[in-house]
């Protein structure tokens, strides 16, 4: 029976599209349910835009006080903020709903997902896909366009490619951290604050040039965890500026590599976490 089903599936599979069909269907159902609460949906979208807008506004406020921050003018620093902001927003849109996993672990509802023939992470992400986060992504794109216009960058296919590559890699980077932060709840149910330190904390860290931070903090976050590659180094490369901290300029192209590394670690942490799932009684 199962063999014949496999055969039918195999016949229909044209490419990756068919493989993801179940997830797409589940996601569509979820969106339908979300959009049925129209007013609440619009409020959440706008609210999300305002919240992240306020974070960016703090960057403006800082430059109101000083014209140079960590050796960077407002226009250049703002490009870093914009790149980091969009990467986080996109990563959050992709996997941010993993936050809800805590509830599913607490109630044991995760059991129901584990007995389906689908990947757990992909299920979690598609069943709880929250379109309301899209407001922040749209806002992030607009802000990045403005920042790109303001910054002292000679735009060329190469530099544009670097921005695109950086944002995609940065999206995966933040998604990996969000997954890891969520995974912690397999061990400690109440781990929101701990995880947020690395996800939202990491994002706020990347809004500013690394040079403004103290050494310990910088080594830990920027190099230890790789946050310097989300926006700081790629923007330096865009600006053709030598790194005040001494690394070569081509280092800005390494973001995808760092991102792959972080994603591998996240995948390992995730698998270990799932194996430690304890479920709940009955």
């Amino acid at each position: 029976m199962a063999d014949s089903a496999d055969f039918v599936v195999a016949c229909r599979v044209g490419g990756g599209g068919e493989r993801f069909r179940p997830y797409r269907m589940v996601m569509k159902a979820q969106l339908r349910a979300q959009l049925s609460y129209r007013a609440s949906f619009s409020i959440e979208v706008v609210g999300g835009m305002i919240m992240t807008g306020l974070d960016l506004a703090t960057v403006l406020v800082v430059f109101n006080v000083t014209s140079v921050l960590g050796g960077f003018s407002f226009r250049d620093a703002f490009l870093m903020s914009a790149v980091a902001n969009l990467s986080f927003a996109a990563g959050d849109q992709l996997v941010g709903s993993i936050d809800d996993m805590r509830v599913q672990i607490r109630t044991g509802q995760l059991d129901a997902l584990l007995v389906r023939p689908l990947g757990l992470l992909r299920q979690l992400v598609s069943t709880d896909f929250e379109l309301r986060r899209i407001g922040r992504v749209v806002q992030g794109i607009v802000v990045l366009a403005i920042a790109a216009g303001l910054a002292h960058v000679a735009w060329s296919p190469a530099t544009l490619a670097l921005v695109a590559l950086t944002v995609i890699a940065g999206t995966a980077f933040f998604a990996a951290f969000l997954v890891m932060a969520g995974t912690v709840s397999f061990w400690w149910i109440d781990s929101t604050e701990f995880g947020a330190g690395f996800t939202y904390g990491g994002r706020n860290f990347t809004l500013y040039p690394m040079t403004v931070y103290g050494q310990v903090f910088r080594y830990l976050f920027a190099y230890g965890l790789g946050f310097a590659f989300v926006a700081y180094y790629p923007v330096l490369t865009l600006l053709h500026r030598p790194d005040p901290l001494g690394l070569p300029t081509w280092i800005g192209w390494l973001t995808p590599l760092v991102s792959v590394g972080v994603c591998s670690v996240a995948a390992y942490v995730w698998r270990t976490g799932v194996r430690h799932y304890r479920s709940t009684g009955s």
Binding site: R21, A33, V115, P117, L118, R275, R278, S279, G281, S282
Partner: protein
């Protein structure tokens, strides 16, 4: 023929952290499942029972790939539940009484349609299976209702349908009748009996409702404290734990042998020859109602004749051994 479900020395430990003093905490490992050996053949219907916390659900969760065993081995349909989780999921159906497979905000019908995509069941096959379930479980009246508005009984019927739409080889049910009213219970039982009668689906269910077992499961596995304490038929369970039929006798007047008898010892003395395997279990204070316990092979007719010889019978009833009593006795040990 190889077994569909095979467990060998299966163990699951949980680490429990306990407060010991103001700041100190002690950790210790508690075995929820402590070395279970089990082999279930294709088409069998197995009742898996035990008191709360005996490890029933934990066993089922290890067999379905939800929990990783601490030790031992388990295979279902020849697959390793955790390592081959998604492949196994296509071949098993799971109903966890307390966890829903359905989409809360969507009509039942839409959940079924989504599950068709999740399990990649061809539309024709899916429709056919749904038609069978629909008539047997009476889904028509509530198929268009959002799941959150269904009664528990309706939802459970939906859950069972959802678990069967991909024609699984094995169906695991964790307390499928818990909290249901009598009518829903009967509908669910009749449906599961029909599935079992077809012969190609293996069924393993946990329950506290022993009527489920009596109706559905020729084979009974009882576990307690993570160990299998009985694996066999219901009759074997009765034989092993010496279940007694009971004979209840109402008399017009207490047995009168000089004085009125209302005490177990006195009654036993008065009916000298109660026969082998018969015990006097209870005598009511007024001495008019007597209760006898009969072991396997004891002769109820001889007992009644003996009583009739010394007293005037008003009423008589024979009560078959009650599985609940047997199980309660196991639980207490």
């Amino acid at each position: 023929m190889t077994a569909v479900i095979e467990a060998h020395e299966l163990r699951k430990e949980f680490t429990v952290t306990e407060k010991a003093g103001r700041f100190r905490r002690t950790r210790r490992a508690v075995a929820a499942v402590d070395g279970i050996d089990l082999a279930v053949d294709r088409g069998e219907m197995v009742g898996y029972i035990g008191p709360n916390g005996a490890g029933k659900s934990t066993t089922l969760k290890m067999m379905t790939g939800v929990l990783t065993p601490t030790g031992g081995s388990v295979s279902v349909c020849g697959l390793r539940p955790v390592a081959d989780r998604t492949r196994l999921a296509l071949r098993i159906g799971v109903v966890f009484g307390q966890r829903s497979q359905l989409w809360w905000d969507l009509p039942l019908r839409d959940s079924f349609e989504l599950l068709r995509h999740v399990y990649r069941v061809p539309a024709v096959e899916h429709a056919e299976r749904l038609r069978e379930c629909r008539s047997l479980l009476g889904l028509d009246e509530f198929e268009a209702t959002p799941v959150r508005q269904l009664s528990l009984g309706q939802r459970m019927r939906g859950e069972i349908t959802a678990a069967l739409l991909h024609r699984p080889d094995v169906l695991f049910l964790d307390e499928p009748t818990i909290g249901l009213d009598v009518v829903s219970k009967q509908a669910v039982r009749a449906f599961l009996a029909a599935i079992g009668a077809a012969g190609d689906t293996t069924l393993m269910l946990t329950t506290h409702d022993l009527a489920d077992i009596e109706r559905l499961c020729p084979r009974l596995v009882v576990i307690d404290h993570g160990h299998v304490v009985h694996d066999g038929s219901l009759a074997e369970l009765h034989a092993r734990y010496q279940s007694r039929r009971r004979v209840l006798v109402d008399l017009d007047e207490p047995i009168d042998s000089g004085e009125r008898l209302s005490d177990i010892d006195q009654v036993r003395a008065a009916i000298v020859d109660v026969g082998p395997g018969v015990t006097v279990e209870h005598v009511s204070p007024d001495g008019r109602r007597l209760e006898f316990g009969l072991r396997d092979g004891a002769n109820a007719g001889a007992l009644v004749a003996r009583i009739a010889a010394v007293a005037s019978l008003r009423d008589l009833s024979v009560i078959e051994p009650d599985i609940e009593d047997v199980v309660a006795r196991i639980y207490q040990d």
